[in-house]
Symmetry: C2
Subunit: 152 residues, 2 copies
DNA sequence: TGACAACTGATACTAGGTCTCACTACACTG
DNA sequence: CAGTGTAGTGAGACCTAGTATCAGTTGTCA
């Protein structure tokens, strides 16, 4: 079953209609690179080679929000402080982002847990969430000979 | 030496002028709770009891940005995804934020390092930065008898 | 077929932030 | 002490990301 079918299934399962507009946003989302903004998606739905009517801005934002609620997308915090969107891997995960090419690796072996437990004890907090993003340069971008393959 | 004098010293050291407007923004920043927005600061400079002329919006934003550059302030990511500002403790640190009262604890015993090293090896990334925010409820806010002391 | 709810898109609005530009106020130089 | 150049200022236009409103459209089910 393809990505798009899985997402459509998830939409229907939650009682949402799968309309033409939503399908167009979905298509555009799946065609995006590692991470993107809502305007990137909007632009993609409006690309001249797509012979479909464009999607309204409000609808694009609404659909992205819906996909976020369904955990189809997640948000990713770039090192400049801007929030982008990204197709989400299932469950709790974090991002390792290459500053140069924008490539993103998801990682789940989230060994922040001991730290969080320690912190909870020391500070007497009930801790229920955390956010961790890691930034660096991937192997390809460190090789000076090759042109970095810009993912975004 | 007081906080404000230290900051002023840092400004001068970097060749910035210490003008009336900057002093007013600084006063307002130091009077803020755990974390704040630029508009909070603006409102504070315009509070009726202050008999000083108000600071322009652009100047407030410029000054906050300057203080950010000087590491006087840091940004803090709230769990709703909004970025606020906060007086920065020196050096690399993270935030533990109480969702209820907004209280913030800074922590530096940042044992993310082993995780980061492991990640660097596994993914073949040069890792140079990370961002970690932790959310929970502080002791005071967990006690049902007392009204939580709202820090912000 | 009708009715109702979900959805859509245009548009206005908000928050947070930058840009521009004419003006002001420092601080150095002669 | 005057002149001058530069840093800083404030008003306001503008930008980006996102939400609210609302009349009109579409899909679904009885």
């Amino acid at each position: 079953m393809s990505d798009i079918d899985l997402i459509i299934q998830r939409l229907e399962l939650r009682g949402h209609r799968v309309t033409q507009s939503r399908r167009r946003v979905l298509d555009a989302v799946l065609a995006q690179p590692a991470h993107f903004t809502v305007d990137d998606v909007l632009r993609a739905t409006r690309a001249p080679r797509r012979r479909q009517p464009p999607v309204g801005r409000a609808t694009a934002f609404r659909t992205i929000r819906l996909l976020l609620d369904l955990n189809v997308l997640c948000r990713i915090l770039l090192d400049d402080g801007t929030l982008h969107y990204r197709l989400s891997t299932r469950g709790h995960h974090h991002h390792l982002v290459c500053r140069d090419c924008g490539r993103v690796e998801d990682f789940t072996q989230c060994d922040v847990e001991p730290l969080v437990r320690e912190l909870a004890e020391a500070m007497e907090y009930d801790i229920d969430a955390h956010w961790l993003e890691v930034y660096g340069r991937c192997r390809a971008c460190r090789q000076p000979t090759k042109e970095p393959a810009r993912v975004r």
